[in-house]
């Protein structure tokens, strides 16, 4: 690093010294040549020479030189070390444009330094200019142009040189970038030959065109004729005289002329033969023109011998020929209209104004001559183009002439046949088609000779009536185009009527369009009927006004909201189509397009949904179901009617009215079916005092084993029984007592001791379910006497009556020791583990409420806090129930209801 510093420092000092001496920069070397211009494709060699001072300071020599072109190192194969200070580089077949070439050295420390740089301009030498030509615009200077040849890529100067035999003219130099042409600064001298050539020069060479020698007068382009005017002749309506003036050039050279003309409104020019205007002149009379027609003229000129150039066209001049008598009779036609007068008909005679080239002047009026068959004629002079006359039903002949200032046209004759004339002999093969922006009509002529044809046409529209226009064609014509102003996309009804000498034939009609277009609107499609898998679409034919062409076909596009679109082509004659294979209960979007020859147009989109069921499908399901239901209902009603007693017994059994009760007879003789064992047998442990019924939670109901099913059944019976007793127990304490099989001996005894008391209990007269009712009849009380004493004073019951000989059902046990709790609940049973007065159902509950209370008492409340868990209790209950169901003696006394009395126990 320090060594490098020691080398760089002198370099800087050298540069500083050079600067101080007034040199801006003392470079370390140079390249020769300095500004080379290289021809493309040639070899080029450059030499870089290092200066001694630099070589010493930088400790380099020519071996350290390397070259770069456009910042790219040139391969060393192209280097040549000439000596210790000079190295050259050679580029064979040089092909780069605008190349930057630098000479560089690599100093100590691999530091590259640029010694010198040059720009190499490359290109091609100019080619020999070709096709040199000159023009002398009259009154102006001469301009020459040429073909410069290939692109040189260099700045190339072109010089137009010109000279006479006696002197040279100033050079004409082109401006850079301008077209290869030059305009000399002097006015050319006619009739003196001059020599002209072009020199092209650039850095790589020069080239000279061929010398051309010419007399400038043979390169002249005259000034266009001016003051062109047109005058007509009164005597000859078919000629116009054209006059003009030319520049002074015609004073010393002869000119020839080119005259063209055209009728106003036409585009094509007519040419006057050039041989008729091949010499200097200032007027020309044009013949064979149409009378009363405006013509447009123009003229140009050039040197008479044809050398040089045509002048520009003169300004157009207009002139009108004189009038002549109409050259043709007007087109003539008629229409018969109904007339209110009997025996007459209104005939409207129509004719066309003559076109200008046939009118040959301004038409002043028309004369119509009507001649009845073998009768006198009558003349009408009208200025209009129609005449309405009332004619008899006879045959008439009408003649029409047009008149202008000069004379009268030939007569157009038309036969108006008699009213009973049978029109026949129509044209055949009538066709209409557009061609060349015209609507052509073609037909085959009838076999009979035809005087003329009448073509009528009108616009077919839904909004406007058909107002016909018409034209007349000669009898020899069988193909023509409609001459009226026709519109595109409009339907025309064209009628061709042949006219014979004795009257018109039958018309033939055809429809046609000048140019078709897609319809303006698309058809509006809708559903006519939608089924489960098909839909009937219908639409109306498009109005003529929006058709814009012949409707060739319709296309129906339909799709579901997610599916692909399906297209169906339908013939244009249809107005209905059935889409099949549709999916039920699906929304479909459908639209329709109408197509002419030129394209189609979509109509609005319509959506519909296919039903889920086909028509009648619901009815097919619902009606049988309803019928079946009705039948079942009817059967049920009949069954209920037949079994009404049974139903009544189970659902709403007769409840005796205590108010109408009387002393009945109980029949204690009938032994109970079940002899319940003593209370001790049932509850040997004496743990349960009143009730051993197990409540099985409905929610926890599980499939029960057979044993438990019996228990379940038993529970139901118990509930049913409770229900039966509800109607009685609500007010009968004693009866409850009798029915109880409670283990409360004292209470039972108390109840039995009340043998004289009136029974208010409900008696299951037929047994309970599978319990066979006893045949004994129990008398009961139906009186309305006050409650028994035990109910009012239960504590006063005689103890001796505690031994109840009657069987008792323990779950009908009802304590009478609840007076203070209000009216005892019907069939209210004491809750296990709870005081009798703490019946959770509450007092005053009806019988049904008892059932409800029975079901809704929670197990915890029912068994108290000291009771085991529900499962245990359930098991205990099952055991108890099984015991009960196994025919164990029950503390139950079968009772039989005998109306009107009971048997005291």
């Amino acid at each position: 690093m320090s060594a490098m510093r020691t080398r760089m420092l002198p370099t800087l000092l050298l540069l500083l010294t050079a600067t101080c001496l007034g040199e801006l920069l003392d470079v370390c070397g140079y390249i020769d040549p300095e500004s080379p211009v290289v021809q493309l494709g040639s070899n080029f060699t450059a030499v870089c020479v290092l200066k001694e001072k630099c070589m010493e300071y930088l400790h380099v020599n020519a071996d350290y030189i390397f070259w770069k072109t456009n910042h790219v190192t040139v391969p060393r194969e192209q280097y040549t070390v000439i000596n210790s200070t000079a190295s050259s580089v050679t580029f064979p077949d040089f092909s780069l444009l605008n190349t930057q070439l630098t000479c560089n050295i690599r100093t100590f420390g691999q530091i590259d330094q640029n010694v010198y740089g040059i720009s190499i301009v490359s290109g091609l030498p100019p080619e020999k200019p070709k096709n040199l030509s000159c023009i002398v615009n009259e009154g102006k200077r001469m301009t020459c142009q040429w073909d410069p040849g290939r692109e040189t890529h260099l700045e190339t100067n072109f010089t137009l040189k010109s000279e006479w035999a006696t002197e040279k003219f100033p050079d004409c130099k082109t401006k850079r970038g301008s077209p290869p042409a030059c305009t000399v600064e002097y006015l050319p001298v006619y009739f003196v030959n001059m020599e002209v050539w072009v020199e092209a020069r650039n850095a790589l060479g020069e080239a000279t065109s061929e010398h051309i020698s010419f007399d400038p007068v043979n390169r002249v382009k005259p000034i266009a004729p001016r003051n062109v005017s047109v005058s007509s002749s009164e005597e000859l309506p078919s000629i116009l005289k054209l006059t003009w003036a030319t520049s002074s050039i015609d004073k010393f050279l002869g000119l020839k002329y080119d005259i063209q003309y055209r009728a106003r409104g036409t585009a094509a020019w007519s040419q006057i033969p050039l041989e008729d205007t091949a010499s200097t002149r200032y007027s020309f009379t044009v013949q064979d023109l149409r009378p009363f027609t405006e013509y447009v003229f123009r003229v140009r000129c050039m040197k008479e011998d044809g050398q040089g150039f045509w002048s520009d066209w003169s300004e157009e001049a207009r002139g009108t020929t004189s009038e002549d008598r109409p050259s043709k009779a007007p087109s003539f036609w008629y229409k018969v209209e109904p007339s209110p007068a009997h025996g007459y008909r209104s005939v409207r005679l129509l004719w066309k104004t003559l076109p200008p080239f046939e009118a040959n002047g301004k038409i002043l009026d028309y004369t119509v001559t009507l001649t009845r068959w073998k009768s006198h004629s009558q003349n009408y002079t009208v200025n209009d183009t129609k005449l309405t006359v009332n004619l008899t039903n006879d045959r008439y002949k009408a003649a029409l002439t047009a008149r202008n200032l000069v004379g009268t046209s030939d007569a157009a004759v038309l036969t108006v046949p008699a009213s009973d004339f049978p029109a026949a002999r129509p044209v055949r093969d009538l066709k209409a088609f557009p061609k060349d922006s015209r609507l052509w009509v073609e037909w085959t002529a009838p076999r009979e000779p035809v005087s003329k044809y009448i073509l009528e046409w009108c616009v077919l529209s839904d909004k406007a009536p058909c107002v016909p226009d018409w034209q007349q064609e000669d009898g020899a014509v069988h193909r023509t185009h409609l001459t009226g102003s026709l519109a595109e996309s409009t339907c025309y009804l064209i009628t061709v009527t042949p006219v014979y000498s004795d009257g018109p034939g039958s018309p033939e009609a055809v429809r046609a369009y000048l140019k078709q277009a897609p319809p303006s609107k698309g058809p509006v499609v809708r559903t006519k009927k939608v089924g489960k898998n098909e839909a009937v679409l219908e639409w109306e034919q498009l109005p003529v006004d929006v058709q814009n062409g012949f409707i060739r076909n319709y296309t129906i596009f339909y799709k579901t909201s997610l599916g692909n679109e399906t297209a169906v082509n339908v013939d244009s004659s249809h107005t209905e189509y059935t889409l099949s294979s549709l999916t039920s209960d699906t929304l479909y979007m459908v639209r329709m397009a109408a197509y002419t020859d030129e394209g189609g147009k979509d109509g609005p989109e319509f959506t519909f949904t296919t039903p889920k069921f086909a028509q009648g499908e619901i009815e097919a399901i619902v009606v049988p179901v309803c019928l079946a239901f009705l039948l079942l209902t009817l059967l049920g009603v009949l069954l209920c009617f037949n079994k009404r007693d049974l139903i009544k017994k189970h659902i709403w059994p007769n409840v005796p009215d205590p108010s109408k009760s009387n002393i009945a007879q109980w029949s204690p003789h009938t032994p109970p079916r079940h002899n319940f064992s003593s209370k001790d047998q049932m509850f040997s442990d004496g743990a349960l005092t009143d009730l051993s019924v197990v409540e099985i939670e409905a929610s926890d109901r599980k499939p029960l084993p057979e044993e438990l099913k019996a228990l379940d059944l038993f529970r139901k019976e118990k509930l049913s029984t409770g229900g039966h007793s509800s109607g009685i127990g609500g007010s009968s304490c004693l009866s409850s007592r009798q029915s109880l099989s409670s283990g409360d001996e004292a209470e039972a005894a108390s109840a039995q001791s009340a043998a004289s008391a009136v029974q208010y209990s409900t008696v299951v007269h037929s047994g309970y379910r599978h319990q066979v009712p006893s045949v004994q009849v129990f008398s009961r009380s139906e009186s309305t006497q006050p409650l028994l004493d035990c109910e009012e004073r239960p504590d006063e019951l005689p103890p001796g009556e505690g031994a109840d000989p009657l069987p008792r059902q323990q779950y009908f046990q009802q304590s009478c020791r609840q007076p203070e709790a209000g009216p005892p609940g019907p069939a209210g049973r004491p809750q296990p583990g709870a005081p009798a007065g703490e019946d959770p159902v509450g007092p005053g509950q009806p019988g049904s409420g008892q059932l409800q209370a029975f079901q809704e008492v929670p197990a915890a409340d029912a068994f108290g806090p000291g009771a085991p868990g529900p499962e245990r209790l359930e098991a205990d209950g099952v055991e108890a129930a099984l015991d009960l169901d196994e025919g164990l003696p029950k503390s139950y006394l079968p009772q039989t209801v005998r109306p009107g009395g009971y048997v005291p126990q």
């Binding site: 096709n131 030509s133 023009i135 142009q145 006479w164 035999a165 006696t166 002197e167 006015l187 001298v189 006619y190 009739f191 003196v192 030959n193 007399d215 007068v217 043979n218 382009k221 004073k251 010393f252 050279l253 080119d258 063209q260 585009a267 094509a268 020019w269 040419q271 140009r300 050039m302 011998d305 044809g306 050398q307 040089g308 150039f309 045509w310 002048s311 520009d312 066209w313």
Partner: protein, 199 residues
Amino acid sequence: MLNSTNNYREDPQADSSVSPLPLLEAKIHQTHSLARLLTKYAEQLFQEYVQHQGDPFGLPGFSPPRLPVAGLSAPAPGHAGLPVPERLRLDAGALAALPPLLDVVRRLQAELNPRAPRLLRRLEEAARRARALGAAVEAVLAALGAEPREPRPEPAAATAAAAGVFPAKVLGLRVCSLYREWVRCTEADLGQLVPGGPA
């Protein structure tokens, strides 16, 4: 419809009916046309020169003296009686003498009428045209096989005669007049050679 075009390269009718005359005849015809054209131009030059000189040059009764011009005289009265080649030799000699005189007049008029560019341009063109006509006449003479005219000295006295405004104007008037006369004379002499012209 036929349309003219400004692109003269593409004009199909250009140079389409060239009628190559024999070389001599064509040269005589061309030179005669030039002489006829220069006669017209010479007349225009004379009128324009008089117009720019002011009074009394433009007055109807003004008749300046026909002063001799150094090196050039008017056609001699017997000029028409000379043989055509001789006449053409005299014409060529006069036409060769006229350009220097016209240049002198142009220089003088550039001082007297610097705001008459058209006159100056006409004088310049007249000198050039006179040289062209003279060369053409000599070419005709050469084509006819006649001896060319002898070289004559330049009219050095012409400049000396232009001292003073009026003399300068008179000199110019005289040179323009001589130019007109010699061109007209040349036209007439060449007319003798043109087929169909006066014999």
